[in-house]
């Protein structure tokens, strides 16, 4: 929470520039719901914002344990927001485990709102506390607001005569009400949402509304301790337009549907559930009326093979998975490369190796995407930076896949996949179509005839008389398309497969510099979901007078055609990544530039401060 900008606002509210709030509680406590509603309301209030939901690995972890804690962080401000914030200004801790897990992230002086009612000795024990932190000195460095939220919520809904379990479940909404009061939010959209959600259970709806109002009223009426005030965060200057919240996986799904439309093709999406990719399948399964067929395959191999089969048949085949599942798809990816069929693959990265930490984010599949197959097997790799960009890059993947007859991997990650961000909704009507034209000329036909410019082979659609042909994973003759073991031909075909992919760089934008000059002392080169924290860090470094530029890659392969020249304009190159050093190696291999890694392999996004420290250190080194 920044220092107050002024105090001259309504109701004596302090005006703040930006605030970070973290809701934390047991996974049964409804923290995700509270966070999502706060987000909606805050967006409506005109702030810019970013969020970070953090789930436990278990479906329903035993109540009260530290590994069952669920968190939702929101950062909102009167200016641009790029990250969910390093540290919470306000922590809402609904039980001892939530306090235990999150306390170390709260800066000294931060505000902690605690549900005292959950600090029973049983809960304290489950959380691994040997003494009650509310009774000792451990919270002294913070501003603490202890409230028996359980009891107050129960009281607020008592008149409705619900069972005590159901009644107690409203405590998340009660605390939401309190925060609405504290940050001057309007309750009405949440009330409408609750009434719609529980339309079939009017008493539950009423209870939640009552709790929300009660929490709000508590703020208005109760005497709050010293240091706990009320705040106002002015509207941000946002680009005008219609906005919505969108998660990365939703955006990928919608982008794929849109890409199919723009290509004039039906889409077949074959997938096998895996965290954190499953929700792409879930979203697409609802889009059957968009010409999207979804197929839950028996495994990842069948999933990608079904997509390859669909593309052979003249549809746009697509699939999605996460690291371990993508590993399984390697062999079939090779088939798509060899048969030069369009294919869209979403890799929602998670912490590895192996099963790793499935619910945690990471950027460690870059090598796998670019180089992880048998043989010389080039394809195109894209990496959106934000949930909203996922929509754009899913469409771009469809365009490139069909235009160049190639698989395209879109590298997302658990962080963008689940994180919702406000997104200015584009107009679909303004988007350029890229209708596919299937090959139709029977004269001189063979299946590996190539377009001279793109080097893409023709796409003949089964069902077309006169174009009957056979393809497969064996090497093809350049000028006949038949199986060929000719040594020179294999060399030539390997080179043409490479040239086709490298040529895609001519069809995509040059690399821009996000912040700073086109040359200088230090370029910080990031990719994917770390955009926000890296951009913030570079901004701060520049405000400290350091000569630092920010370059953010979205075209991972082929890389932007000007990238080598651009990088050579900097004396030093620092590559922050959520992995053990992958992009920095690719840059060195491609451009022979002295890129250095800055790694964080913790299943968590970078904090701005971590990147900033890395920049300072690197400049001193």
């Amino acid at each position: 929470m920044d220092t107050p900008v002024s105090e001259s606002s309504n109701n004596n509210r302090e005006t703040l520039d930006s605030v970070v709030i973290r809701f934390a509680g047991d996974s049964g406590d409804g923290m995700q719901l509270a966070g999502t509603q706060f987000t909606q309301t805050t967006a409506l209030a005109g702030n810019d914002l970013a969020t970070f939901p953090d789930f436990p690995a278990e479906i329903r972890a035993p109540a009260g344990t530290t590994f069952g804690v669920s968190g939702f962080q929101i950062h909102f401000a009167s200016h641009d927001v790029l990250t969910p914030g390093d540290a919470p200004d306000v922590l809402v801790a609904m039980n001892p485990a939530a306090l235990k897990v999150n306390l170390s992230d709260v800066p000294k002086g931060g505000l902690i709102i605690i549900n005292e009612g959950a600090f029973s000795s049983a809960n304290l024990k489950k959380a691994g506390y040997t003494s009650n932190p509310l009774d000792d000195e451990s919270l002294a460095p913070y501003r603490v607001l202890k409230i028996d939220i359980s009891k107050l919520a129960l009281a607020a809904v008592e008149h409705l005569g619900l069972g005590s379990k159901a009644a107690l479940r409203t405590k998340n909404v009660w605390s939401l009400g309190l925060l609405y009061w504290m940050f001057d939010r309007d309750r009405s959209s949440t009330i409408r949402w609750l009434e719609a959600k529980f339309a079939n259970k009017p008493d539950i709806a009423a209870a939640n509304v009552a709790a929300l109002n009660a929490g709000h009223a508590y703020g208005e009426t109760a005497e709050l301790p010293q240091g706990v005030g009320t705040y106002k965060v002015p509207k941000a200057e946002l680009q005008p337009g219609e906005y919505r919240n969108i998660t990365g996986n939703e955006a990928l799904a919608w982008g794929l549907a849109a890409g199919g439309r723009l290509a004039g093709l039906p889409v077949l999406f074959g997938s096998y559930p895996i965290t954190p990719a499953s929700t792409v399948l879930h979203s697409l399964a609802k889009l059957k009326h968009f010409g999207v067929t979804t197929f839950q395959a028996e495994d990842e191999i069948a999933a990608i093979c079904s997509a390859v089969g669909a593309s052979f048949g003249g549809a746009l085949g697509a699939t999605a998975s996460s690291g371990p599942g993508i590993a399984l798809k390697g062999e079939a990816l090779g088939l798509a490369i060899m048969t030069e069929l369009p294919l869209v693959i979403f890799d929602i990265q998670r912490a590895g190796p192996s099963t790793g930490m499935p619910t945690k984010t990471e950027q460690s599949d870059l090598f796998q995407a670019v180089w992880g197959r048998n043989g010389d097997a080039p394809l195109c790799v894209l990496a959106p930076a934000t949930p909203g960009e996922c929509f754009h890059y899913a469409i771009e993947a469809c365009r490139i896949a069909t235009k160049y007859m190639t698989p395209v991997i879109v590298l997302s990650d658990g962080y963008i996949a689940n994180g919702a961000a406000p997104w200015r909704i584009p107009s679909f009507d303004d988007m350029a179509r890229f209708d596919v034209r299937f090959h139709s000329e029977t004269e001189g036909f063979h299946p590996y005839l190539r377009d001279e410019t793109t080097l893409a082979r023709v796409w003949p659609k089964p069902g077309t008389p006169g174009l009957e042909h056979r393809i497969g994973g064996l090497e093809k003759g350049y000028s006949s398309g038949n199986i060929s073991y000719d040594p020179d031909n294999h060399h030539k075909m390997t080179k043409v497969r490479e040239a086709k992919i490298l040529g895609i760089a001519n069809d995509m934008p040059e690399q821009a510099v996000e912040l700073g000059n086109d040359s200088g002392e230090l370029a910080v080169v990031s990719w994917g979901s770390t955009f926000g924290s890296v951009n913030q860090a570079v901004r701060r470094a520049r405000s400290e007078g350091l000569d630092v530029s920010h370059i953010h890659l979205r075209q991972m392969w082929p890389m932007p055609r000007n990238l080598g020249d651009l990088l050579r304009g900097f004396r030093k190159i620092l590559v922050p990544e959520l992995n053990n050093g992958q992009l920095y190696r690719v840059l060195r291999a491609e451009y022979l530039v002295p890129a250095q890694p800055l790694d964080k392999i913790a299943g968590m996004p970078f904090k701005v401060a971590e990147v900033l420290d890395g920049i300072r250190e690197h400049l001193q080194a």
Partner: protein, 341 residues
Amino acid sequence: MPLDTPAKKLTKKDFTSDQEVRWCPGCGDYAILAAIQRALPEMGVTREKTVFVSGIGCSSRFPYYMNTYGFHTIHGRAPALATGLKLANPELDVWIITGDGDGLSIGGNHLMHLLRRNVDVQLLLFNNRIYGLTKGQYSPTSILGQRSPSTPMGSLDAPIQPALFALGAGARFVARGIDTVVKGLGDLFGEARAHHGTSFVEILQNCPVFNDGAWDGVTAREIASDTQLWVEHGKPLLFGKDKEKGLRIVDGGRRVEVVSVGKGGVPESEVAVHDETNRTLAFLLAQLQIPEHPMAFGVLYRDPMVAYDQAVVAQNEQAKAKHGDGDINALLRSGHTWTVE
């Protein structure tokens, strides 16, 4: 399933591609190829709507020799690929060609799911009880004790029985044929194609190079009438040169015994009658092995239900009927939005 029919009557030659056939001399695959090239024109299919999809193996080279659309995919994955193809383009007539290794070793899982889903394709499994292409290792259908480069002292794992496996997996059409019984094959192919859903056809195939004569005990011409029982729906289960032998079901349906029929034997009425819609009978028939029993051929089981691809198309249509043709602009604006001015 029949779709368009060609303008002019096609012949075997129309289905023969210009690629030189690259199987070993004497390989049983030649006969199967000829049988299908002969059978397709009979079925009145068009070349352009016909697709052959295969995995990897000697048998899987098949698509190259068919002058239709074809996809020689990767080892074991043809069923998965064909499923996507059929979902993308349900009007195509899709044939899967696989081997005992391709279909039952690496590809067993995809085969199982193809069968339970009942995708409307024909799957021909060339069973030579050996890995041909990789030079003769034993396969999941090899007999116990098979000597091969990977089992020099004999194999130790019990073979899978393809037809039994298919029934256990929920197949709705299970048939069996022999490479050299060309007429029988042609008929089976026709039945398979006519069936809506996955038609599973096991074909006993000889690999003269690595497993020569593996099926001789069943297929040799001299003994064929005693070792082969060709079943027909509604007909008694008779075999032998003069149909003088039959199968009687005993033990409350749990066992089958061979009986002499007619003079000196039992009356024909005691011989079991084939009911291709009965899965338990099919399970019984699929298990019959020489020398105790003849081996069963023809359509062992056929009990159609809705094909998966049809159901998918119908559900997609239903969604369209309900929501109208999807509107991307509306999708992007669904749920909660707000406007910044």
